[in-house]
């Protein structure tokens, strides 16, 4: 047996097992503990299903439903916005392209908190966007964009979009431009070229962007917490709230387990859908 690959993989494997697998197993175990009485995170040596069954009531199911709906909406919006943007980037020449790419990647050098802070101020009830709309007479009362579903959605979309655009841009660049121009030359309309050439060839990238939006949307925390409404929140927000505001660590762990399960199920469903639509398994011959 050659020891070299094991030595090479060793540090990364140690990090992953120690700081990813162990914490996840710990979360699962904690979700079966009885809540702490007094000190610590939980009562050691106990087993209970109460934390999990407590989530099966209407409130818990509503939380899961909201999280799945939120992730789906994020995935749809991210794909719908990033795909045209990626195609637009492809149509640009070098200097304009560099400018546009810089604009898209710049926010990723800033903390997530900064972007959300900027959005909070820009779109708030007395923010410049509302003031502009009021002066132009488009609305008579300020639009309530923050502290609701719209705010949470737009916050998360702003955070995920740059990744999706770059991912799709790389994908559409790989496409041979001859295919589209020859289809045009053979008499296909613009729409036909898009429908028959551009869209099918971008499918792997679109699927990946959808996956990204779904997973990160379902795990969203900062957007819903800072820009969303306090009543309707995602599971991630509830995890933090249960743990830090109420000190119910086992309950929070049970929510975490549910979130991971929900994400896994949704990903599997998306993959199934993809295979159904494209007629071949993902990652097959390309």
């Amino acid at each position: 047996m050659n020891p070299r690959p094991y030595l090479l993989a060793g540090p990364a494997a140690t990090l992953l097992i120690g700081l990813l697998v162990c914490p996840l197993l710990l979360v699962i175990r904690v979700s079966f503990y009885q809540p702490a009485n007094g000190r610590g995170f939980f009562t050691p040596g106990t087993w209970t299903l109460a934390n999990h069954s407590a989530l099966m009531d209407a409130h818990g199911l509503g939380l899961v439903g909201y999280t799945i709906a939120f992730g789906t909406m994020i995935a749809v919006v991210v794909v719908m916005v990033s795909f045209p943007l990626a195609l637009f980037l492809r149509s640009l020449h070098s200097s304009l392209l560099r400018f546009a790419i810089a604009g898209i990647t710049l926010p990723k050098f800033a903390s997530v908190l900064v972007i959300l802070f900027g959005l909070q101020q820009l779109l708030g009830d007395t923010g410049p966007v509302n003031r502009m709309l009021l002066t132009w007479g488009i609305v008579s009362d300020p639009l309530r964009m923050m502290r609701g579903l719209f705010g949470a959605l737009i916050g998360e979309v702003f955070l995920i979009l740059p990744y999706a655009v770059i991912l799709l841009f790389v994908q559409v660049l790989e496409m041979d431009p001859i295919l589209e121009s020859s289809a045009r030359g053979l008499g296909a309309s613009r729409w036909q070229v898009f429908r028959r050439i551009t869209l099918p060839l971008s499918m792997p990238g679109l699927f990946l962007a959808g996956q990204l939006g779904l997973v990160w949307g379902m795990g969203a925390f900062l957007g819903p917490l800072l820009l969303g409404s306090p009543e309707n929140t995602t599971l991630s927000v509830e995890i933090q709230r249960q743990a830090f505001e109420y000190g119910r660590w086992p309950r929070s762990a049970a929510l975490s387990v549910q979130l991971i399960l929900a994400i896994g199920i949704c990903l599997a469903a998306l993959t199934f859908l993809h295979n159904k639509v494209s007629g071949r398994p993902l990652g097959g011959d390309r």
Binding site: R4, P5, A9, G103, L106, I115, L119, V215, G219
Partner: protein, 269 residues
């Protein structure tokens, strides 16, 4: 103008409008940071740097800044070392557990940060890493692993493995192969990976929040309560400074890439 030209102009306008929207929150935060008073209204005539002075004179903020820098740099070094070694091992060797490891290394991207924080806090508490910067470094390095791994692996896939074989065949020791072949040819991917890891760690706020204690208060941990309960221009200042540092480190590392590239081009062969 033909309809096609109108369509093209409209497309450019619409495209740059979307790009503009993406940058707008950041630019607005920068503008707010020059506010002369404590209200969150952007300055129009009288710009002021008083919030920058307030930031510079408060030792809590400067401590947080230096902690963030240290954690970011340590995380970059650690995740590049571990990630590059893993990518190399996975690309060049067949070994047992390779498939599992391939999935495992991408998993940090799929696990919501809230769940990660939820698991890491009791774990760190149990092993005594709670309240230490080392815990933060390790956590961030694990989160950056997939990014570094993907960047280095895509570079490795473009490279010809024969270079290493040839060097070995001609009598180079493994350390000579690393020094003469791997670092010059893949150096750029390592540096890009390091820059990405630094930017992620420097700006990471979720796991930082879960693990935050007064002794590990980094920049995001300082911004957080302010943002949630009493937003002031000081938040904007902290944000601007963190963006400048992240950009500075990234472009500094970019400069190294260019230098390495120029050097390896000048070498014969």
């Amino acid at each position: 103008m033909s309809p096609y030209h109108i369509f093209r102009t409209l497309r450019i306008v619409a495209g740059f409008f979307v790009v503009g929207c993406l940058v707008a929150p950041l630019l607005y935060a920068v503008w707010l940071s020059f506010s002369p008073d404590s209200f969150l209204t952007p300055p129009e005539r009288d710009w002021s740097v008083r919030w920058y002075q307030a930031f510079a004179t408060d030792s809590r903020w400067s401590m947080a800044l230096s902690r963030s820098l240290m954690v970011g740099l340590a995380c970059a070094v650690l995740s590049v070392l571990a990630g590059a070694m893993l990518a190399y091992g996975m690309e060049r060797y067949l070994f047992r557990g390779k498939g599992t490891l391939g999935i495992l290394v991408l998993l940090p991207m799929c696990i919501p940060p809230a769940v990660l924080g939820m698991g890491l806090l009791p774990l760190f508490y149990a092993v005594g890493l709670w309240g230490s910067l080392l815990g933060l470094v390790l956590g961030h390095a694990m989160m950056c692993l997939p990014i570094v791994f993907l960047i280095v692996r895509s570079k490795l896939r473009q490279m010809n493995p024969d270079h290493e074989m040839a060097a070995r065949g001609l009598g180079a020791t493994p350390s000579q192969v690393v020094g003469r072949i791997i670092i010059p040819l893949w150096g750029s991917a390592l540096v890009v990976g390091a820059a990405a890891a630094f930017a992620v760690s420097f700006n990471e706020s979720m796991v930082t929040l879960f693990l935050a204690t007064p002794t590990t208060e980094t920049l995001p941990a300082m911004i957080w309560p302010q943002l949630r309960y009493s937003p002031s221009p000081l938040v904007a200042v902290a944000s601007v400074i963190s963006v400048i540092i992240a950009l500075g480190v990234a472009s500094g590392l970019g400069g190294i890439v260019k230098l390495v590239g120029a050097k390896s081009r000048n070498k014969p062969g």
